[in-house]
């Protein structure tokens, strides 16, 4: 049964479809909502199965996979691509300089291996196209950005009437919530933060409700309470600035400055690389106007929630040793100071803009993760959501 296979393929792709939706699709087909045209079937099954635009891209891929598969493509198609052919494709799009760069990275063969691996990974896991295109041509894989597509297009041109199908356009790639935040996603991320801000509100007297239920009660007073509309969440935000964070600062700042109005109290502080005995509020006067951590610990009560935004990418000494800071001599190690913060505030989340896949390659990230009890989250929509959930617990 083709349809059932398709249903399971969609489920396997991580789209939460239930039996109910499957039955709906069958009913819709029986009533001939869509004619035999495959485009119409695509639209119909998408409207039935997918309830979140963040999953559109995943659906497009699963749909494409499945229906291209039906046209008798071998599964291990990619493995069969001759190396030379791949190489040729690449060479076409490379300049002499880039070729030299590649040689210095271990030569063609090694690179081809990696490239094929990545290509397959992209077929299966698809972390979003942007990952495969490096910035400003520095990444060795930057130049290949166009290629994974190129191969697919070539494959389809011969088999199908149309060059690119609707689901192959992957218009909804930006909406996938596992890719890093871009300007479009920031808005959605904000909403997650706002949701967090609204939770945990206290109760206040519901005047309308009280009048109504008093009236229902034939005049006997019946007090009603409702959750307060204002948000009551108080947040301390520590922000890593400068150095390795430069790439991420803009997106982080945008995110949290926009979120400011949503919280009852939001206090933000800057630090460089790691938190030591003091932080600052104004980056231009960072040397004169420092705020000691001990003061913060006393000033802000334990019900504040702490969010640290930092890439935690540095030499491990900067965390674990006294005097490890790159900027000054710190008498006590960063780990000690972080621990003091953790002792006072039980709700802590560390948001790390470095892509999660790279975390394991940095020792300092592992150390920090351990210090914060694994409460480190990526700066992605799903990461933020997890962080907010953890803070709201």
């Amino acid at each position: 049964m083709v349809l059932l296979d398709f249903f399971y393929r969609i489920r396997d792709a991580g789209i939460p479809v239930s039996v109910k939706e499957y039955l709906t699709l069958i009913e819709a087909l029986q009533r001939r909502v869509s004619n035999e045209n495959i485009d119409n079937f695509y639209y119909l099954s998408r409207a039935t199965f997918v309830k979140d635009e963040a999953l559109y891209d995943r659906f497009d891929r699963a749909f494409g996979d499945y229906f291209n598969g039906l046209e008798a493509l071998p599964d291990d198609f990619l493995k069969d691509i001759p190396k030379e052919w791949l190489k040729k494709q690449l060479e076409l799009s490379l300049s002499e300089e880039e070729k030299k760069d590649i040689e210095s990275l271990g030569g063609w063969d090694k690179l081809m291996e990696t490239f094929k691996e990545r290509l397959e990974e992209q077929q299966k896991r698809h972390q979003g196209g942007s990952k495969w295109i490096g910035t400003a041509g520095k990444s060795p894989f930057g130049a290949y950005g166009y290629n994974p597509e190129g191969i697919r297009v070539g494959q389809q041109g011969s088999r199908n009437r149309r060059a690119v199908k609707v689901w192959d356009k992957r218009e909804y790639r930006d909406l996938d919530d596992s890719i890093e935040l871009g300007t479009r996603n920031i808005k959605v991320a904000l909403k997650r933060l706002r949701k967090f801000a609204r939770e945990g509100a206290e109760e206040e007297l519901d005047l309308d409700g009280t009048i109504r239920s008093t009236a229902n009660n034939a005049g006997f007073l019946d007090l009603k309470m409702v959750p307060e509309r204002r948000n009551a969440v108080k947040v301390l935000l520590f922000f890593d600035i400068g150095g390795s964070m430069d790439d991420y600062v803009r997106s982080c700042e945008e995110l949290f400055s926009a979120a400011r109005t949503e919280f009852k109290h939001l206090e933000y502080f800057y630090f460089h690389n790691f938190i030591y005995e003091s932080v600052w509020k104004d980056n231009r006067r960072r040397n004169n106007e420092r705020i000691p951590i001990s003061q913060i610990l006393h000033k802000y009560a334990a019900d504040y929630k702490v969010i640290v935004v930092g890439d935690a990418t540095m030499s491990p000494y900067e965390i674990t040793y006294p005097g490890g800071s790159v900027e000054h001599f710190n008498e006590e190690s960063g780990a000690v100071w972080l621990k003091r913060i953790l002792d006072v505030y039980s709700k802590v989340a560390w948001i790390n803009p470095t892509p999660e896949l790279r975390w394991k390659y940095h020792e300092s990230i592992s150390i920090t993760r351990e210090l914060v009890n694994d409460r480190m989250f990526g700066l992605t929509l799903s990461g933020l959501e997890k962080a907010m959930k953890q803070l709201a617990k």
């Binding site: 939706e21 819709a28 009533r31 979140d52």
Partner: protein, 284 residues
């Protein structure tokens, strides 16, 4: 085959949107619509009602809305007051029951369209409270002990701005469609529908300015379709010529009447700053 929706002369619908609407009509399930603000989510319900010539019942959701209000409300306060004044009407509880939009649509003599606008504004439990009503299209009025069930199942169109996640049980019952921001082609069609007399050149130039403006990085609120339409309306009213638009190269100056497109002070500042930077880099 029953009724079909294929856009109207005032509303340009993509193939995928039409499919979603038609599926919802044929299977009599609710249709959930999401999309950027200003892409015509609310308009859709009106246009569908128009195209199918069905009556439209609108229910605009606020943060204080309760599911019950869509069905009916029992005005206990007036009744209490009336009882103290000794009014006759007090004896019949029916006088104090006010029908909500869903009740009205259930009673409608012909199939109708119900718009539940911005469902995500309401409390998180709101959609759950409507599950049975949307499924069975019936509900019970406790005060009068009567069962209200729909004579014709209405087509229910729900819009959401994504401010809250909707419960799974609710989603499972709906068809879903995300209205994407229209591309240049579709946008030209949309504008044609609204301003059939607009000069081709002016439109092309205006669209270029508009899409370039949307590309400006860091805008808080990107201008959307409805803002474009407003802007074109003013451009026509002010009789701005194609030449003026052309000379207003975005990199050097603000397009005429940009206030219709950028509605946020910070965005205007940002934009001015970008222009300033561009000018300076050109000079040096």
């Amino acid at each position: 085959m029953a009724e079909r929706f294929s856009g109207t002369k005032d509303y340009v619908a993509g193939e995928d949107l039409m499919m979603a609407v038609n599926a919802a009509i044929a299977l009599q399930r609710p249709l959930l619509i999401k999309g950027e603000p200003g892409t015509g989510k609310t308009m859709l319900a009106m246009e569908v009602a128009n195209a199918l010539s069905r009556p439209l019942f609108q229910w605009h959701i606020k943060s204080t809305s309760k599911a019950q209000q869509g069905l009916y409300e029992y005005d206990a306060v007036s009744r209490l007051r009336d009882s103290q004044l000794g009014e006759e009407s007090v004896k019949d509880i029916k006088n104090y029951i006010m029908k909500g939009p869903l009740w009205e649509s259930f009673q409608s003599e012909m199939p109708s369209v119900v718009l539940i606008d911005e469902i995500d504004k309401a409390d998180i439990e709101f959609p759950n409270d409507l599950l049975r009503e949307l499924d069975r299209m019936e509900f019970f009025v406790y005060e009068t002990k009567e069962l209200v069930s729909a004579t014709h199942r209405p087509l229910i169109i729900i819009t959401s701005n994504n401010e809250k996640d909707l419960p799974d049980a609710f989603l499972r019952r709906c068809f879903f469609h995300y209205i994407q921001f229209p591309n240049k082609e579709t946008m030209t069609q949309i504008v044609d529908v609204h301003f059939p007399d607009i000069k081709k050149q002016l439109l092309q130039q205006a669209l270029e300015v508009f899409f370039e403006l949307r590309e400006t990085p860091g805008l808080k609120k990107k201008p959307s379709t409805s803002e474009l339409l407003d802007w074109l309306k003013i451009l026509l009213a002010e009789d701005i010529s194609v030449e003026t638009l052309q000379t207003s190269d975005q990199r050097k100056s603000i397009p005429p009447l940009a206030g219709a497109l950028l509605k946020n002070e910070q965005d205007v500042h940002l934009f001015e700053r970008l222009i300033f930077l561009n000018k300076r880099s050109e000079r040096s």
